[in-house]
């Protein structure tokens, strides 16, 4: 089985091709870039480079795994539209990997509680709480958008060593150390493991594919975890009007 994986939810753009044969899985190629160019300019050229370098026929992939959110709204849509276009043209199914799950899977085999943090602005982070059971990802708290203080409060209740990763770490590191350091054993993932990696998305994709968790290219859409600003403001306005009546 061969999976093409794409993640453009955050600062990095990353593309990988992973395989599983006779219960042995491997990464055929992975291309990750954290540079000032937009995902729109990098994502497809990266895929093209992988295809050329590995003499791959795109028709040989079984499915396209894509980090389906949360993340930058525009970044998610670039990845999503790319996956949908490939899926439509190649007639292949898509696999929707929750972005934060994919990030957590970078730290496979750690005994620590895994907590990815993506900066979500408006004083919030996109995060989730996970634990590994061998190579199986256990979701203790599904991905969510919360304030950093609320996350710290949740984490305190686990009383276990933990490790953080993601582009939200630099923004919130001091705060987390202050809130948690005194009585918790906390660590931060090293630079080569702390950002989105499409190979991790692909490996989760293999598991999802075997569990039959696929969708059609037409069905796929990002899961933003947030409504748009205009919708939020409208809801607030309607709510305010209703309470005044």
């Amino acid at each position: 089985m061969r999976i093409l994986a794409i993640d453009s939810s955050g600062l990095v753009a990353t593309v990988a091709v992973v395989e599983e044969e006779n219960e042995i899985s491997k990464t055929i190629a992975e291309y990750t870039i954290n540079y000032k160019k937009t995902h729109s300019q990098t994502l497809l050229p990266m895929l093209d480079e992988i295809v050329k370098m590995t003499d791959m026929n795109l028709d040989t992939i079984d499915a396209i795994a894509v980090a389906g959110g949360p993340g930058s709204f525009t970044g998610l849509r670039i990845g999503s539209a790319t996956a949908k276009g490939l899926g439509l043209a190649l007639k292949k199914p898509l696999i929707h990997i929750p972005t934060v799950d994919g990030l957590a899977y970078n730290l496979c085999y750690t005994d620590r509680i895994i907590c990815p943090i993506m900066d979500a602005r408006r004083n919030q982070v996109y995060t989730g709480i996970y634990q590994m059971d061998g190579d199986k990802l256990q979701v203790l708290e599904a991905q969510m958008a919360v304030g950093i203080d609320e996350l710290a409060k949740k984490l305190c209740t686990y009383g276990k060593p933990m490790i953080f990763l993601g582009d939200g770490v630099p923004v919130h590191k001091d705060r987390l150390e202050k809130e948690l350091m005194t009585d918790q054993d906390i660590a931060f993932a090293p630079a080569h493991m702390n950002q989105q990696r499409a190979a991790a998305v692909g490996m989760l994709g293999i598991q999802y594919y075997k569990e039959g968790k696929t969708e059609t290219a037409m069905e796929h859409e990002p899961d933003y975890l947030r409504v748009s600003q205009a919708e939020r403001e409208r809801e607030e306005r309607l709510k305010a009007e209703n309470t005044h009546e």
Binding site: S40, L47, R77, G85, G87, L88, A89, S228
Partner: protein, 343 residues
């Protein structure tokens, strides 16, 4: 010897604003399918297009729209020769959905990718129903986001003679419609209400720009309408909404017709076309038709379905770009302020 020319089929995608559209066009002139998924009802709730909502709707609809376009045309991707896509100008988040989708399809099917300028698409809409129309001609593009007077010198070769200095004509329609409580989108509603009003009831100003005879300005007439309404309200006077709509529409139309006819004569052209969403406006069409007849100029206009944002027009423009050799790379990006003629 086999001299039979192969047909060229373009699959075109358009997502620059609040319409998700796909079409299949044969040899640049024959529309095999034209699918448009409009989001207008959603944006009505907000009184205008909300970029983030537009982008979200595009990603939800785009595959369905493309598959419908292929199905309606009775073709598959294997029959397609190139993919055309609008990459600017427009809302960047909205454009990016179409661009990323088009690139992925072209890449997977090993097809040439042709990026198209949205206005070039609107102008090219005139080729669909007027098979005899060929450059050179003059074209007035009027929509919610654009007011351009363009000399179409050849396929893909344009000279912009005039543009708006402030509001686009369609934007002024939307703002005036809001002021007289007609809602969004304003153009069709003002057009309808105007039929009940007197276009000479209120003398709204016609802006002429001193040093550039083909440029437009619509913020003055818009402000004059708002001032007129405020003045009536302050004096406790009733005002006639139909008269306001008709008089405003006449003021805008007079300027559009005046500048266009001036340019046609100055450039010695005998063909004139209109394009864009506002080109559906019945008063503008009638006034242009009359002016062209009086001046012995052939007048062209697309059906309303090709005036609104659609992908058929993008397919036509993409065809001429394609045969002229335009090809875009896999790093094609959305360019929200793309200039006409830039490639």
């Amino acid at each position: 010897m086999d001299t039979e020319k192969k047909d060229i089929l373009i699959l075109a995608i358009e997502s620059s604003c609040d319409e998700t559209a796909a079409a299949v066009v044969k040899n640049g002139r024959q529309v095999l399918s034209n699918v448009i998924s409009s989001q207008i009802d959603l944006h009505k709730l907000y009184g205008g297009v909300v970029p983030e909502i537009a982008s979200r709707k595009h990603i939800e609809k785009i595959n369905q729209v493309i598959e419908e376009a292929l199905e309606n045309a009775g073709v598959t991707l294997d029959d397609i020769d190139a993919i055309g896509v609008t990459y600017g100008p427009g809302l960047v988040g909205a454009l990016l959905v179409g661009v990323a989708e088009a690139k992925a399809i072209a890449y997977a099917k090993k097809l040439p990718l042709v990026g198209v300028h949205h206005i070039e698409g609107h102008i090219s809409a005139n080729y669909i129903e007027n098979l005899e129309l060929e450059p050179p001609f003059l074209c007035l593009v009027v929509s919610g986001g654009h007011t351009h007077l363009v000399c179409v010198k050849d396929y893909g070769t344009y000279e912009i003679l005039g543009r708006t200095r402030d509001d686009a004509a369609g934007e002024a329609f939307d703002k005036v419609a809001r002021a007289i409580d007609l809602g969004y989108p304003g153009g069709p509603k003002i057009d309808k209400l105007s039929k009940e009003g007197n276009p000479d009831a209120i003398p709204f100003p016609r802006a002429h720009i001193e040093d550039s005879p083909y440029d437009f300005s619509f913020s003055g007439v818009k402000s004059a309408v708002l001032n007129y309404i405020n003045g009536c309200k302050m004096k406790g006077m009733e005002y006639n909404r139909a008269d306001i709509a008709a008089s405003f529409q006449k003021a805008v139309t007079d300027v559009l017709v005046g500048n266009a006819m001036h340019a046609v004569k100055e450039y010695g052209l005998n063909k004139f076309a209109i394009a864009g969403g506002v080109a559906s406006n019945s008063s503008l069409r009638a006034a242009m038709k009359q002016a062209c007849e009086e001046n012995g100029i052939e007048f062209y206009y697309p059906s309303p379905i090709f005036c609104t944002d659609n992908a058929a027009m993008i397919g036509v423009a993409a065809y001429y770009e394609y045969i002229n050799g335009t090809r875009h790379g896999w790093d094609l990006n959305a360019v929200p302020n793309l200039k006409l003629g830039e490639r």
